[in-house]
Symmetry: C2
Subunit: 173 residues, 2 copies
DNA sequence: CACTAACGTTCGTGGCGCTAACGAAAGTAC
DNA sequence: GTACTTTCGTTAGCGCCACGAACGTTAGTG
């Protein structure tokens, strides 16, 4: 251990703890949330990157499967991705042939986004990938504990969903 | 809801609520974590901003109180703030007279960061502020539930603390 | 017809986690 | 003592993300 540390092995990756974090910080719920979310995001991003995808891609594809073709504005509201950011996401998905962007003849302001059969296949694989990632993320927890965590987080989220919504034209999470 | 079987006619303008998020997304643990963390971070940032502080400030002050004066490198490891970012944080704290930065006579590479009495007083107020923020964040949960959440997150964090650390010179969370 | 609102798009901002590099000052090593 | 290596503080920069402003276009509404 580092009690008798050998500092010469420069790659300090050695023993675990260089220094301790104050208890006050370690038990701060907001901090715990942020750090855990960071790890989660990293796991997801890295996992999906291996499949040439990003989490936004998955969100959009899932939404298309569950609700069918939709305009970008609708997709934005359903996924929580801002309209401005969604443009690039749709571009990427279209470039990969996973969705098609076509002008809506009934309302020429809109684009109708439709999932292709290739997109459906890809989504299937992403489903599995995502599942294993979640499993990896929640590895140390039993199934009841995972459910409990999900319930707790959902309640927090629902509770805080009320207030905020004074927006200008976009929709948050 | 969109019981209207005619999705093309701008059905979203009608009802107050916008659109539903797919179940698959709503129950994704990684997503729940990210969104909850987003809300938490926002609460913390806004709350602290009202007191002319940022979360980094709090982290550093707490660490100084718990372990006493330390070099920036040590503070970096204990708080998880990168050395490069810590520079600005210490500047801000010093500008406000909450800490003092003095060269270490024993090792002239280091700066010794010391909390001032004013810093101690400020930290007291931030403690209270942070407490109310946590309370706000966890409002919908009972005390046992809050404890449970904290435990679950801590376990996730501890578990994922093993792997990652292939660092170059800095220390993450 | 004028007014308003929604849509897709572009550009920009600020914060955050993280890396790279560099001079200065130790800590070894021979 | 000279040479190599490591640590320290600092600066600059990247990439991602949540978010907002503005604009031209198109639809609805009075």
């Amino acid at each position: 251990m580092s009690s008798r540390t050998d500092p010469r092995t420069a790659d300090m990756a050695d023993a675990g703890h260089d220094q301790a974090t104050p208890a006050r910080l370690r038990s701060l719920p907001s901090r715990l949330l942020s750090l855990t979310a960071l790890h989660a995001d990293r796991l997801v991003s890295e996992g999906l990157a291996g499949a040439d995808a990003r989490k936004w891609h998955y969100a959009v594809l899932v939404t298309l499967r569950e609700f069918g073709p939709a305009s970008q504005a609708v997709l934005s509201r359903r996924t929580g991705i801002y309209r401005s950011d969604l443009v690039a996401v749709i571009n990427e998905l279209a470039d990969r042939g996973l969705v098609e962007r076509a002008p809506d003849p009934a309302d020429r302001r809109r684009n109708v986004i439709t999932m292709t059969s290739q997109g459906r296949r890809r989504l299937g694989r992403l489903d599995e990938l995502l599942a294993t990632i979640q499993d990896d993320l929640l590895a140390p927890l039993t199934q009841p504990e995972r459910d409990q965590l999900t319930r707790l987080l959902t309640r927090l989220l629902d509770h805080h969903a009320q207030a905020a919504p004074q927006r200008t034209g976009d929709q948050p999470s």
